[in-house]
Symmetry: C2
Subunit: 279 residues, 2 copies
């Protein structure tokens, strides 16, 4: 692992790192914020999964989260959103290929050789981070935005022993039923829709196979989000959670859009939500 | 004036606007944050002047300032850093021409026709903003970073009736005496150094011609800033302020660099400083 650069930030340190990923077959970058407390004791860790077109930089630069993270003693890791490189399959559209990994393990050509973001996040990067930084592997939580909100819900619901707490901003709650998800899942997982269910938060909830071990899932959704009705459909998550008996707080935020200005306005609430679960 | 886009943010509104500037002879952009309180009563306004290479976007995206601004009821405007356009003179270097206006009124060719950032900020844009937004023109303050910290000190010290409070992050305190400033001032103002003095914060202080009307100037400087010794030299500002009887709090921040991660860590203190002066 290579430290690309580091910045002191709110008394802690923000590091940009790169490493060679076996799961993805390419070099990958991530950012990690370590609060000052991590110089004394292992810090709880929040995973932040970013949305379409993002890299490991967007959250670090735009979220405004590190002040509250420093106060709470919370570390935050933001991985990249897909494999990268000239040897990695890609598509000219912003919503497929590089920058659009959708946190699945692809089974179809030409994506299967590199697009294994589910395994990368839950296994390879998790092990690398636990072995390289002063974080408490027993206290991890997960959140994300849009495609990354989908990732947070899916990874969190399927791995309650890894992630003690889940939240999301404007998540794609049922990719099997929206244009972004149908396009990506058809490409990465094939036409057979039964293969899609384990990457669809609403279907995971309804299957009853998983339940978070810690309290309610917190979801913030801008009521003026341009993708609300066609792509995001948070009321479907609300219905699925109700059926499954999963506690969920869905907050519709009037006037807010899909941008990081929305995320920055409420990220403090999410960090407090996770810190309380991880305490 | 054209509203390019708007985002709800911390209960207020962040607007990106464009207008045709007479002072600069080109189209210019700026961002302005209006706190929720501005829907009821005119808000005090902080001017943020950005550094080399920046546009009106950098502060808006990277500073993490709007949460604290919302709590304090403070509006913040971030103008672009120079005239722009294919008809505007430019230089291949990052520290001259477009993106590097240095907040002076240029007198030399080829810069003089467009590079009048001093007049643009203190007159044209000030009048436009006062006439277009619910801000209290009697309660304005100024801050900035690096080249923009220089701008904040110079504009603030020369116009105490316009700006009631001054602060800066890692400012160029005496451009006449550092490589960035010498290069830019030679190009924009000519070889005759007497023309430089009115754009040099240390020389303005020593001339005794100006004094802020409100308390002390707050300056934060990262002690690990790569430009500290060659370009910034904050101890020269400290000496000039002492000679001039100008109150100054210079805070050397151990481990911090020149980036927005440094700014974001301390912008809250600066907003509180200005809000207290403008109360």
């Amino acid at each position: 692992m290579e430290l690309v650069n580091a910045h002191k930030c709110f008394g802690g340190t923000l590091q940009f790192c790169q490493h060679q990923s076996d799961a993805l077959g390419c070099r990958m970058g991530f950012s990690i914020f370590l609060p000052e407390q991590a110089t004394q004791t292992r810090a709880p860790l929040l995973w932040w999964l970013s949305g379409l077109t993002c890299t490991e930089e967007n959250f670090a630069v735009k979220s405004g989260a590190y002040g509250e993270a420093a106060r709470l003693g919370l570390a935050i890791i933001a991985p990249d959103t897909s494999p990268r490189g000239t040897h990695v399959a890609d598509d000219a559209a912003y919503d497929l290929g590089q920058g659009a990994g959708f946190y699945v393990d692809a089974t179809e050509p030409p994506w299967a050789p590199h697009f294994s973001m589910y395994s990368y996040i839950t296994q390879e990067l998790r092990a690398l981070v636990a072995g390289s930084f002063p974080i408490d592997a027993a206290r991890q939580a997960i959140s994300g935005h849009s495609m990354g909100g989908h990732g947070a819900l899916v990874l969190g619901l399927r791995n309650p022993s890894l992630y003690k707490s889940i939240s999301a901003f404007a998540p794609i709650v049922t990719p099997s039923e929206c244009p972004w998800g149908k396009k990506a899942f058809t490409a990465y997982l094939g036409e057979e829709r039964s293969a899609w269910s384990s990457y669809d938060a609403c279907k995971i909830l309804r299957s009853g196979t998983s339940r978070t071990k810690c309290g309610k899932i917190l979801v913030d959704q801008g009521a003026s989000d341009q993708f609300l009705d066609d792509q995001l459909m948070p009321q479907r998550l609300e219905a699925a959670a109700r059926e499954a008996g999963q506690a969920l707080e869905l907050r519709m935020q009037p006037g807010y859009d899909h941008s990081y200005f929305f995320i920055s306005s409420f990220i403090g609430d999410h960090l407090e939500h996770h810190a309380a679960c991880l305490r």
